[in-house]
């Protein structure tokens, strides 16, 4: 049981990082990103290839994962910054699918649907599996802590305030002389970097990545995490990620005690409950469990 809880906390940490990354793009800059799993995947593949094939040290692989994702995020923002949110949702969703297809088909680079196995992990093999788990638990949550402090500071910096202004009303921000596009690109790149970094950590924890791991389902989980915690608030992203893992795992135990349904029906109930809880959260607590304190009054009234 201990090992299980530790492992799930590692997952929660990775999800928390992803939710933090999404929060920069969506929460601060107001650009929805339903392709976040694509940036996560880019980071994972970048570090996997560099540390396994070119024997880069792991921290450099992680940095590279973040950098590659940031680059892709910046480019994406450049293309889509002019678009309204609804277009953005579709474009980003499509982007993640393209990343998955490229990873499946460009066998020379990514090893295709076989995936990449044997990705090194810190001290993996030299310590017991449970010790490895604990090491990673520390690592992931340290990363969450650092990201949280950094992003919270950014969020309250002049840069963060401009982003909020852009989120609330782009035209007003532009009239005030702010280069809106440049702010959006930087916000998107920053958020993508955090997502890529999360992907990089994930690759080294699992030791294996494959295109199927970067399916839209994970995007839904992270959006759920951020919505549950409260879009815009950095603390909310972390609380939300913990809640999502609790929900994902708790439904396993719940499903076991439901009598009179087949295993497929249990599986359907599990996925259904997760979807339903997102809808209910949006309905009854749209501001999340930890609302953003800086949210403007005008927004609340509208």
């Amino acid at each position: 049981m201990d090992a299980y809880i530790v492992a799930m906390l590692v997952f929660a940490g990775v999800y928390a990082l992803m939710a933090l990354g999404l929060n920069v793009i969506w929460g601060l800059a107001g650009m929805v990103n339903l392709g976040l799993v694509g940036f996560f995947g880019l980071g994972a593949y970048a570090t996997a290839l560099l540390t396994k094939n070119f024997l880069w040290p792991m921290p450099m692989g992680w940095a590279a994962g973040a950098a590659v994702a940031a680059l892709a995020g910046g480019l994406m923002a450049l293309i889509v910054a002019r678009l309204r949110g609804d277009y953005l949702a579709i474009v980003t969703l499509g982007f993640a699918e393209v990343i998955r297809l490229v990873a499946s088909n460009e066998v020379w680079l990514t090893n295709g649907t076989d995936g990449i196995s044997g990705i090194p992990g810190p001290w993996r093999g030299q310590v017991s599996p449970q010790e490895f788990n604990l090491i990673f638990l520390g690592l992931v949550w340290a990363a969450v802590g650092v990201a949280f402090i950094l992003l919270a500071r950014i969020s309250h910096s002049p840069f963060g305030r401009v982003l909020r202004a852009v989120r609330e009303d782009e035209d007003v921000a532009a009239v005030a002389g702010k280069p809106v596009l440049w702010f959006k690109i930087r916000a998107f790149a920053l958020g993508a970097a955090v997502l890529g970094f999360a992907g990089a950590l994930y690759a080294h924890y699992n030791a294996y990545i494959a295109p199927e791991g970067f399916a839209p389902l994970l995007t839904i989980y992270i959006v759920l995490a951020l919505t549950a915690g409260g879009v815009g608030a950095m603390r909310g992203a972390i609380v939300g990620a913990l809640l999502v893992v609790l929900l994902l795992e708790g439904t396993r135990f719940l499903a076991q005690v439901i009598p009179g349904v087949s295993p497929v029906q249990k599986a359907a109930l599990r996925e259904g409950i997760i979807a339903l809880s997102l809808i209910l959260l949006l309905r009854f607590r749209p501001q999340g469990l930890i609302p953003e304190r800086t949210r403007t009054r005008a927004k609340e009234a509208s």
Binding site: T113, D114, V264, A267
Partner: protein, 400 residues
């Protein structure tokens, strides 16, 4: 009689477990049930297969429990849905291993899920029985903890190609879903065909999730092939078969049995499926295993994956019964003792448990073949059954 057997069982139990307590294996109590974990795909792309795979496992476990369980211990199955997703698979496996303390994980389907959960299994000394086809799986450093009942894809495609050549196929079109073995299958096929004076007339890797493949079929028709090799899965193969019929393809249609299990007759009319040839690993046609399999399953469908998960459960149970120890390592070390060698041939878990209780050596022959394992964890010496669809049924052509 019963009492006598009980006595023997108890004696064996004592003898077998004493040394295990000494080396500190997982504690073995008479009352505690043995837990087997199942990780089939119940949602996602593997959804059409997972439910039947799980039913097969549960069927064997019920049968074993009715036969007295593993030396008196009942067996329990805990199933988790892998959602055909490595991430969900890893979380599910964590729960099976750390919370349910399963003795083995059975029935992983997608190669990506199997590869993702494999390190968890071997690090925690839990054997993993899988039906995944990617050749790379048994090349992992798994210390003997992986058992794969699906013949590796190279062997399958070699067997299939050679059989087609023997039947006179010279121009074969290869239509493959994007999978870990699409490319390697193509290489093996090309080399085999060329050596025998034939050729692979075309090779298309398609996107599995599409709902139409018209332009792909146009290419097949243009190639004037005498045979088409459909290297995909059930949803896409169903569409392709329909399109081939519509286009009037009159050559040989050949596919893996898992891509067109008997359930294909429910979603396609007979004129579309007639003539389709499938192949799958199989027990020998003369063996009792095959005859029993036929009579037991009768008209109800048994697809190759459920046949294999049936064998996964039987292997794990018999291996645990062999030593009287249900730890993962004990199962790993005893699978080969009960599945190969010169022992008495048994083809079901009831007979197997009875023979082990009587102290006889056994050689389990499963529903998916003789299930003998190489050191790598791949199966060896399996035969293949070729069947042809005829008016909504599969007829056995031959076992080779």
């Amino acid at each position: 009689m019963t009492q006598f057997r009980m006595g023997r069982r108890a004696a064996l139990f004592g003898a077998a477990t004493l040394p295990l307590f000494a080396v500190g294996g997982r504690a073995f109590g008479q009352g505690a049930p043995v837990v087997l974990g199942a990780l089939p795909p119940l949602t996602g792309a593997g959804g059409p297969y997972g439910p039947a795979m799980l039913r097969a496992i549960q069927g064997v476990v019920e049968e074993a429990n009715a036969a007295g369980g593993i030396r008196g211990r009942q067996i329990r199955v805990v199933a988790e849905d892998d959602q055909t997703n490595p991430d969900a698979g890893v979380r599910g496996t964590r729960k099976l291993i750390d919370v349910d303390r399963v003795s083995a994980v059975l029935g992983t389907w997608a190669s990506a899920v199997t590869t993702a959960v494999a390190p968890l299994c071997w690090e925690n000394r839990v054997p993993l029985f899988t039906v995944s086809g990617a050749d790379s799986i048994t090349q992992l450093p798994h210390q003997g903890y992986i058992f794969r009942t699906q013949p590796n894809s190279q062997l399958q495609i070699r067997t299939g190609t050679d059989w087609l050549l023997a039947k006179g196929a010279r121009r074969v079109f290869h239509l493959a879903a994007q999978s870990p073995f699409a490319q390697s299958s193509q290489e093996v096929m090309t080399q085999r065909m060329r050596a025998a004076g034939g050729q692979v007339t075309g090779f298309i890797v398609y996107e599995r999730d599409k709902t139409n493949f018209r332009s792909e079929i146009d290419q097949v028709m243009r190639s004037r092939s005498d045979t088409i090799m459909l290297n995909g899965y059930l949803p896409d193969t169903t569409i392709l078969l329909r399109e081939l019929f519509r286009a009037g393809f009159d050559g040989r249609k050949f596919t893996f049995a898992y891509a067109a299990p008997a359930s294909v007759f429910q979603s396609l009319p007979n004129e579309v499926t007639n003539g389709l040839i499938t192949f799958q690993p199989s027990p020998d046609v003369d063996s009792g295993a095959f005859k029993r399999l036929q009579s037991r399953f009768g008209n109800t469908e048994v697809d190759p994956y459920s046949a294999q998960t049936h064998d996964h459960a039987a292997l794990a149970i018999l291996a645990a019964a062999q030593t009287g120890d249900a730890s993962g390592t004990a199962i790993r070390d005893n699978v080969r003792k009960i599945s190969q060698g010169g022992g008495e041939k048994v083809d079901n878990v009831t007979d197997g448990l009875r023979a082990i209780a009587a102290g006889r050596a056994i050689n389990f022959e499963g529903a998916s073949g003789p299930v003998d394992f190489e050191p790598s964890g791949d199966i060896s010496g399996t035969k293949f059954r070729f069947e042809q669809a005829e008016n909504g049924r599969y007829k056995v052509l031959e076992i080779a």
